[in-house]
Amino acid sequence: MWNLGLILLLGAAPVEAGPTSYLAVIRNAPDFSLTNQSGTRVRLRDLRGQVLLVSFIFTTCNGSCPATTHRMCQVQEELKKRSIPAGQVRLLSITLDPARDTAEVLRSYAQLYDCDLNGWDLLCGPPPEVGPVIASWGMWARPAANGQLDHPSRVFLVDRKGQIREIYNLSFLKPPWVVDDIAALQRETP
């Protein structure tokens, strides 16, 4: 019998994780300058003032990248549902395979996934340019036995001051939760 169930809801207020927000400052987002799918240069520090969601993907991935990009699309939809203007939030997807993922390839990829490019940059560049960016974010990609690239599954949430405030992996990248986090960052004083 389920006779030993004992529940005690705490009366005391739970402890705040940080002085102002449940999203702790993890570290500063490393700056970079890369080229987007249209050939336009995008520099991270020029995006200060916007909340950023930054993923690392490669277009021929048959592992976690398709689902990550799909979830990012769902985040875009959720942002629209909640009437959060595209200009306040920007999605960035940086290639992990700069040798193959040119601007043209990224354009086709964006089309395949119905990414709304009004507010989403897919970023590439020559390998010597992209490699250090990948490393500076603590990411990596290396050939796997199945011919794919092995890589960590991480998506970074960056606040308007350029600080990383959350890191999701696919099991935690739920669009309503992500948009809750984005809204929490938007409520902070710039």
């Binding site: 005391a12 994780a17 449940y22 990248c65 603590g138 599954s153």
Partner: protein, 401 residues
């Protein structure tokens, strides 16, 4: 065509990243990359005993096709002794192990990606100084970060707590405990439910002195259920003495988990209450001093070491109303940590709990084979850590690669 291609890609990805119960590592953070093949290397955290040699990470060859199968093939010297090498965990990308020194408050960050058979010490971080806590215990991967439980406060007393660090060892934040639940031990997270569960053992004022001097009343007696995203305690559930290892059910979305109580010789489940929140149920009486808890990949069995009665027990928990002991083996004196292979067929065991508690002088790593009829010890697998050239050592936690 475009939508069809995209759907195919996403479906393929879902298959790859989804739950495959028959073959998946258990009892490591759900945020860690899973091994996609049988294990070849077993890492063991080891504390030197003789006072002259340093603590180390033992590397055992467990590749069944290797000529060195079952042998200690490498020892990574950690550069100091007296750390009480205890629990540890992979970072989310599986490139590093965070190895906790329970007595020294140090974490040894070990690179296991560059050369898995010859791990390298990358950095030593005094997580006690950074967090204001002491006694780092469970090292639990979050995406890009590590969450550590600490058994004690700054001076070895209470309150204990938790703290988060970047994978590189930089301090992110501390999580404090409710005033009436100041004990800490283990942590487990269910991402899809946004819930975290923690247990509470006892502080350093107990575990740093011989067992005979322990105050057994100075121990946790509750589970804490947390809102993981907000890092806030939602509920405190009273339980028996010293809730120890905690595990969520492996099934996606399953609203239940398991905990052993080391001072109460008991196994419990927590589960969603129809009226909201969670409640607990005692599943049964275990052997003496249940001290480690692991799960089969199919979520049917629990394995627990009973340190005081020298056995490893297998329990079928597929029906919480009829949880039952299904198999038991005696691997040797005082087994403590265990590790289950990704296919659920091999169970590695070590036999050091704490230097202040261990009554044995013989230390080993042994292997139980698991089949339909339960566990059987493999008489040919025995890594003797009592007779090493670097002096005898006490083995604790294990991970595989």
């Amino acid at each position: 065509m475009r939508h069809w291609l995209r759907s195919l890609n996403i479906a393929m990805a879902a298959t790859i990243v989804g739950w495959s119960p028959a073959c998946a590592e258990t009892c490591i953070s759900p945020f860690i990359k899973r091994l996609d093949r049988p294990e070849k290397i077993l890492y063991v955290s080891c504390s030197a005993i003789d006072g002259r040699h340093n603590d180390f990470v033992g590397v055992v060859d467990v590749d069944i096709n290797s000529a060195n199968y079952g042998k200690l093939i490498y020892q990574l010297d950690l550069g100091c002794r007296g750390n009480e090498m205890h629990h540890w965990g992979f970072t989310d990308d599986r490139t590093k192990i965070w190895a906790c020194g329970l007595f020294s408050d140090k974490v040894f960050i070990i690179d296991v990606a560059s050369s898995p058979g010859r791990p390298k010490l990358e950095k030593v971080v005094n997580v006690g100084q950074l967090s204001g806590l002491s006694g780092p215990h469970t090292a639990y991967a979050l995406p890009g970060r590590m969450l550590l439980t600490f058994l004690s406060g700054k001076n070895g007393g209470l309150p204990a707590g938790l703290a988060e660090f970047t994978n590189e060892g930089d301090f992110v934040r501390r999580l404090d405990l409710p005033g009436d639940a100041p004990y800490m031990h283990d942590v487990t997270i269910k991402p899809e439910l946004n819930l975290m569960v923690t247990s509470g053992f006892t502080p350093a004022t107990n575990y740093k002195v011989p067992l005979a001097q322990w105050n057994l009343n100075d121990a946790g007696k509750s589970l804490l259920i947390w809102d993981f995203k907000n890092r806030k305690v939602l509920q405190q559930i009273p339980l028996a003495g010293a809730p120890f290892e905690v595990r969520w059910s492996l099934k996606p979305g399953a609203r239940r988990g398991y905990v052993i109580c080391i001072f109460d010789d008991s196994l419990w489940a927590w589960y969603a209450s129809p009226g909201g929140g969670y409640q607990v149920k005692k599943l049964g009486r275990t052997g003496k001093m249940p001290s480690d808890l692991k799960q089969s990949p199919d979520d049917r069995f629990l394995y627990m070491t009973c340190n005081g009665s020298h056995e490893i027990q297998q329990w079928d928990v597929s029906d919480l109303d009829n949880a039952r002991l299904t198999s038991s083996v005696v691997p040797g004196a005082h087994p403590h940590m265990i590790h289950i292979s990704m296919d659920g067929k091999r169970l590695y065991a070590t036999n050091s709990l704490l230097s202040t508690v261990d009554p044995s002088s013989q230390y080993w790593i042994r292997l139980a084979r698991i089949g339909p009829d339960g566990m059987k010890m493999d008489p040919f697998f025995n890594v003797d850590l009592s007779q090493l050239p670097t002096g005898p050592a006490r083995p604790h936690d294990m991970l595989v690669n």
